[in-house]
């Protein structure tokens, strides 16, 4: 009990020091006040942004964008990954192309996508979907290879059709990797969503709000948004971690 209290005190030591330093810089005034916002002001902005519903609006817009893109890009990635994982000749042809395209940093596609599709919500969705496509496709492809030889042998002995083998043997062996793909895609979707919102400042979203606050030199609003991005990203990861553990309950005995 005492040990835990000491640990907690030590864990809070560094954040407390940093906050004190921040606050002292903010209260100095003058040139410093431009970048350092007093802690009280940050708390005030937080309360106001919750009260007038602004934070909720932007947070929901970003969340919706990330999840929609995850659905589109993840589904396409799953289909692509399973197809190339199951069909060797296609795999040999397509894998180098995917690997080559993957070398381009995802946000580097942005100017090209903007030229082709404008800078509206459609372009944002395409880019975030692309970010979720790669991890999903690569993990699904590996998942298709993860089938235990012995189990496949048993399937052949029982005279399983290709569909039966896929459903009863292939799917359960691939599931862990596919779920890994989903969790990676979820993380990428969140990062890419914030990125495209920073770069395409159009409709609502946490990134758009942060960029507007930066232009207006409102450090307090920027920090509230960062905290929101951080908490939501963390919550998404934790939630999916729960789903994953539930889906893989049967694996615990191994």
């Amino acid at each position: 009990m005492k040990r835990r209290a000491v640990n907690l005190a030590l864990a809070l030591l560094l954040p407390a020091l940093l906050l004190a330093l921040w606050q002292s810089q903010a209260l100095k005034g003058g040139a410093h006040a431009y970048a350092f916002a007093p802690l009280g002001q940050i708390a005030d902005s937080f309360a106001t942004m919750i009260a007038d519903g602004r934070l909720l609006l932007h947070a929901l817009a970003s969340l919706q964008r990330a999840l929609t893109a995850l659905l589109i890009g993840g589904t396409l990635g799953l289909i692509a990954g399973c197809t190339i994982g199951l069909w060797r000749p296609l795999e040999a042809g397509v894998t180098p192309v995917i690997n080559a395209l993957r070398q381009v940093p995802v946000l580097g596609w942005l100017p090209l996508i903007a030229l082709w599709f404008g800078n509206g919500d459609g372009a944002k969705l395409i880019l975030v979907s692309l970010a979720t496509f790669y991890p999903m496709a690569l993990n699904a492809q590996q998942g298709m290879h993860a089938v235990d030889r012995k189990l496949a042998e048993v399937g052949r002995l029982y005279g399983f059709s290709r569909w039966q083998a896929l459903r009863l043997i292939g799917w359960p062996s691939a599931l862990p990797l596919i779920l890994t793909g989903v969790s990676q895609a979820l993380a990428f979707a969140w990062i890419a969503t914030i990125g495209v919102e920073l770069l395409f400042s159009a409709s609502a979203g946490l990134g758009t709000e942060m960029m507007a606050a930066q232009v207006a030199a409102r450090t307090d609003v920027v920090i509230v948004c960062i905290l929101c991005v951080a908490l939501m990203g963390f919550a998404l990861n934790q939630l999916f971690g729960l789903v994953r553990r539930r889906a893989l309950r049967w694996q615990a005995s191994r």
Binding site: G93, Q103, P105, L107, G108, P111, G207, A213, I226
Partner: protein
Amino acid sequence: MPAETPSTPISSFSRLVRIATICAPMLALIGLWQALVSAQIWPEQVLVSPFRVASTLWDMAASGELTRHLGASLYRLVVGFLLGSAVGLVSGGAMGLSRIAFRIGAPLFHAVRQVPIIAFIPLLILFFDVEDSFKIVVVAAASFFPVALGTMDGIASIPKAHLEVAALYRLPLASLLWRVVLPATVPPIVTGLRLGLTRAWLSLVAAELLAADSGLGQMMEMGRQLFRIDVVMGGVIVAGVIGFLLDRSMIALERRLGRWRLA
């Protein structure tokens, strides 16, 4: 290596086959691209031929424009990466080696690690303006976290028994680091460096797209504003090639240091 000599012709042949199986799909992709251009489904402003992109890149390289942008990007990448990974190594090492440093630093470290670096970009602009220093800080922050984490993990993975033996023999700190700590920690650290470099490149391109007067990201952004699709596609290709080379060089380093560890 006399034992390997007989297999050399075969392995070089199989290597040739491997290169061919990688290059053939790429050539097919470029062929498909050219076919789409030749079919003239889209106007020239929407899809330019690969040859136009190549000649644009060539012209920009000849005029020194590409070199200027690329040089600016690589300068920021190298300085920021060295800075970020040095700080990452030191703080990761401190948190890995010292119990008290771990209890003070690790909670904050793990909390901040959850935040995508890109989300810090507006804040960093407020603090550092949009000059070079801002982009260097972005790169340094992006490379800091994976390197520090790799260092911490690496030190945690040192076998306990080795440490006990070292303590028993009263090994001086220098040889403890060199003989026990380094061999176990180098592979995770190099993996951290590799991840850090990849993230640094992604964040740098994003930062340059947002605010810069030079750099690869800015070259693409200007190309977009001027509707120069050839410049934009050229920039995408260069960004991909740089990303590929960075990753390859880190993989090569990983292999090299792995061999050193076994020797």
